[in-house]
């Protein structure tokens, strides 16, 4: 009877395991599907080609997860965004609504998925003089947490090098107005920047090769 019971248990367990592993692979397949609606704006594998949509592929998973959770909680600003293409072209939405439709689990999955992709730097025109000045500002105030010209995903501080200039500009505005909270130690550094410094930084980040 006992043996029988344990046999039963074993088969039950292996059955469950099978189901679980099946679910696992189904989930893996799902990640791409999950990301499908994002790619309309953020491009294939998060390598956005639209200058008003940030490149997100290749950022670190913790940063991406935190960002999405911040949108979900409406801690980050919920700018109105127009869908640039696809069947819903022209419709209005915002990142908060988009993030709110995802579960925490899904957010983590998407983050892992994106983190494994390369960050494809945007090619954009910049002013070399401003970029040089920007580098100085960056090295003096921002390097500590945005190392290697802001190109290290491992810093968990997003990626600035090669990011679309309009997006960097917008995040500067959001930080400046207080609409987007800043990390405690970034705040004093950022608040000391002059407008000209910020302009220079934007050109610098575009210049990082």
């Amino acid at each position: 009877m006992k043996i029988h019971g344990s046999k039963y248990l074993t088969s039950l367990c292996s059955g469950l395991l099978l189901i679980a592993s099946g679910a696992q692979s189904a989930l893996a397949a799902d990640v791409q599907e999950l990301f499908e609606p994002c790619s309309v704006c953020h491009g294939k594998e998060g390598a956005s080609t639209e200058s008003n949509m940030p490149i997100i592929g290749g950022m670190s998973a913790p940063y991406l997860t935190d960002a999405m959770l911040a949108y979900k909680e409406k801690d980050w600003p919920c700018h109105e965004i127009e869908i640039p293409s696809g069947p819903d072209k022209g419709k209005k939405t915002d990142m908060c609504t988009i993030a709110d439709d995802l579960s925490e689990k899904e957010i983590e999955q998407i983050s892992e998925y994106l983190a494994a992709k390369p960050f494809v730097r945007a090619t954009q025109e910049f002013d070399a003089g401003l970029a040089a000045k920007g580098e100085q500002v960056h090295d003096a105030s921002c390097k500590k947490c945005h190392d290697e010209g802001g190109s290290l995903p491992d810093d968990d501080s997003g990626i600035l090098a090669g990011q679309w200039m309009p997006y960097i500009k917008q995040s500067f505005e959001d930080f400046g107005s207080g609409d987007r909270p800043m990390p405690k130690k970034m705040k004093p550094k950022f608040n000391k920047l002059e407008d000209a410094d910020k302009e220079a930084l934007i050109h610098y980040y575009a210049s990082v090769k």
Binding site: P62, K74, D75, K144, D147, E148, L152, D154, D155, D156, P183, K184, K185
Partner: protein, 665 residues
């Protein structure tokens, strides 16, 4: 013979090569340095590296730099002191200038220490070499830390490697408690500031910095006391913020304890980092004493500090009233927190009185019934001649509305207790589990508020119902009559009489429709609603509360809300359960009268003999007689009753765990 010579040379050369390649392996570590190559003894190394002359070398990229120098006296005192230079520097195979490097890797602390520990484990020397174990633990923590993250432009390829903080040549951490340790401890900020210059500047002028560096106070925190030594993570990450909060608490114990009693601290203890933590109010590096005008918590700056989080965005903006809130209020400091002290004394008095009285009541009752049951049964049976034809009849005691009201009330109160106690006893093992299952503190809070609305709703509906009932009766309502729940003289006599009966000094009183303990249960709800409901409403609408009352009201209200809830929970699941389900003449539980609404004539007569006699006399008993509940109804009621009792007892157990168990970090 001569033909063999080259072979011997070849073999010797091969052996040499193998030894040089393996010399860095710990097993070979004690091997004489001389075997590694000619002129590779320490003296030879030091002839250049002792720094007697100022020598320079040219880097791989063509830059000139001063030659690395070693203070040999310090070196031999360090933990690595009895090792030869080439034990670690296996890549050095000659004493030429510049060196020609062998193919062995450069010294690697991690590999070497992990290998040493493996050997210690294999040779069963883990106890003798416990320090090695600590090093390996530190390495494990380091590997997960932010310092171990990649930084391609740095030589080590990581943000910071072992030798960025530890001077490997003189490495020697003195034992705890020695004055050497003090000195060593105080060097930490200088070490960290090699990279974190800004933080050092902030730190040096802070209370911690002044105490540590100017006053040489060993107790004053240096970098590693808050950031940990090896597990250092990015401070913006939640788990690390929680850890840092605990680190503060490991020195500032009393402040940490009082913090944990506030909502900020309770949520933090549950493992969520979104409420205020030490450094949110006091600053992280730039911490000053409260009376220092630089301090974030100085009365002049405090409101601004509160407004960092209470910024009018997601939560209402902090108002001047916040200044009198005690984020570290305690119940024992009358001088500083008189209102909290008084509230605590009152609540403790109330708890003692209620439990003292009712637990004595329950215990004595139990004792008396046990005595009766062990001895001759004297219980009188109902004279059967009165009951001819009434075998299938029961007495109706509670109408449908009452019963539904009671059920909803019980369910909402239990939900309130679960969600509330998880915050009240946030430091227990079970609390974070409950909160997690419920979907986090915000969701648990929502459930708590919805249950509170249900509970208060039922209470007010009941009030309206009773008012209508009394109004209809008008002058005919007998306030102190047998159907009224208002206490009357007989109740006090009965209460006294019961105690006399418990101790065999009198007959058991005969009760009318409502016994005094039932009346107590009834009126206790009014008290509870006023206290818990009132304080709960004040906490639910903090903005309104803050606009009317000073900040310390939040301290008082939080305390009263929690303790009154504790009183209610424990009262319900001990005294109320005993009186209605667990006293010997009710066993086995449950008593389903509150679910079926009816009870047997026998029970009715035993518990409410006076009402029974009255109804028999006036011939009104008929009016109250109904058919016994159907089998499914009885069974369902029993299942429901047992379920509720089980939930109640589980809640009682978890409350007890919270009450008797303390916080453990």
């Amino acid at each position: 013979m001569p033909a063999q010579k080259p072979a011997v040379y070849l073999l010797a050369w091969l052996a040499c090569l193998v030894i040089t390649q393996l010399a860095w392996l710990p097993g070979a570590m004690a091997a004489d340095a001389a075997v590694a190559g000619e002129g590779l003894d320490d003296a030879t190394c030091l002839s250049c590296h002792a720094g007697k002359e100022q020598l320079t070398v040219t880097n791989e990229d063509g830059e000139e730099r001063p030659l690395l120098t070693i203070d040999h006296r310090k070196y031999i005192k360090g933990v690595h002191g009895d090792m030869a230079c080439v034990d670690c520097h296996v890549e050095i195979i000659d004493s030429k200038v510049p060196h020609e490097y062998g193919s062995a890797p450069k010294p690697d602390c991690v590999q070497c220490h992990e290998a040493l520990w493996e050997i210690a484990k294999r040779e069963d020397l883990t106890e003798e070499k416990a320090r090695l174990g600590v090093v390996v633990q530190n390495i494990e923590a380091y590997k997960e830390s932010f310092h171990a993250r990649s930084a391609p432009s740095r030589k080590s390829g990581v943000k910071a490697h072992c030798d960025d903080c530890h001077d490997t040549h003189s490495f020697d951490v003195p034992p705890r408690g020695t004055s050497k340790r003090t000195e060593w401890h105080l060097t930490v900020p200088t070490v960290c500031s090699k990279c974190h210059e800004d933080s050092l500047e902030e730190y040096l002028v802070s209370v911690h910095g002044v105490e540590a560096t100017e006053k040489h106070n060993l107790k004053a925190a240096v970098c590693v006391d808050c950031h940990t030594t090896h597990a250092i993570s990015k401070t913006s990450r939640d788990p690390f913020q929680l850890l840092i909060t605990k680190q503060c608490g490991s020195c500032h114990e009393e402040e940490f304890e009082s913090y944990r009693d506030t909502y900020h601290g309770q949520i933090n203890t549950l493992g969520y980092a979104y409420t205020a933590k030490c450094f949110d109010c006091h600053g992280s590096h730039e911490i000053f004493a409260v009376d220092d005008p630089e301090s974030m918590v100085h009365p002049d700056n405090r409101l601004e500090t509160c407004q960092e989080c209470h910024d009018g965005r997601k939560i209402k903006k902090a108002t001047a009233g916040f200044l009198t809130f005690g984020p570290h209020a305690n119940t024992h400091d009358y001088e500083r927190y008189p209102q909290v002290w008084i509230a605590a004394k009152f609540m403790h008095g109330l708890l003692l009185f209620v439990f003292g009285y009712f637990w004595a009541h329950s215990l004595l009752w139990w004792y008396r019934e046990c005595v009766d049951r062990c001895g001759v049964k004297t219980e009188q049976r109902i004279r059967t001649d009165e009951l001819v034809g009434l075998e299938n009849k029961q007495v109706r005691r509670f109408g449908l509305v009452w019963r539904i009201g009671h059920l909803l009330f019980a369910l909402s109160v239990m939900t309130l207790i679960l969600t509330g106690m998880a915050v009240f006893y946030s430091y227990t093992k079970w609390a974070p589990v409950v909160i997690d299952i419920l979907g986090g503190p915000q969701m648990a809070g929502l459930i708590h508020r919805i249950s509170a609305a249900i509970m208060l709703g039922i209470f007010f509906l009941h009030l309206i119902g009773v008012s209508i009932h009394i109004a209809r009766k008008g002058r005919n309502f007998r306030w102190f009559g047998p159907d009224s729940l208002v206490p009357n003289w007989k109740d006090f006599k009965d209460a006294w009489g019961m105690f006399k009966w418990f101790v065999h000094k009198g007959e058991k009183p005969v009760f009318d429709r409502w016994t005094y303990w039932e009346k107590f249960d009834y009126w206790a709800v009014f008290w509870g609603m006023a206290i818990i409901g009132g304080s709960g409403m004040m906490l639910t609408f903090p903005d309104i509360t803050a606009s009317i009352f000073p900040g310390w009201v939040f301290n008082v209200v939080t305390l009263v809300h929690g303790e009154e809830a504790f009183l209610a929970a424990v009262f319900l699941f001990t005294v109320h359960f005993f009186n209605n389900h667990f006293r010997p003449d009710k066993l086995p539980p449950p008593d389903v009268v509150m679910f079926t609404g009816t009870q047997s004539l026998e029970e009715f007569r035993r518990d409410h003999g006076m009402q029974y006699d009255r109804l028999v006399e006036s011939g009104e008993l008929e009016k109250y007689l109904v058919d016994s509940p159907s089998r499914p109804m009885t069974l369902g009621s029993k299942i429901l009753g047992l379920t509720l009792i089980t939930i109640g007892l589980v809640l009682l157990v978890i409350v007890a765990i919270g009450f008797f168990g303390g916080y453990s970090p």
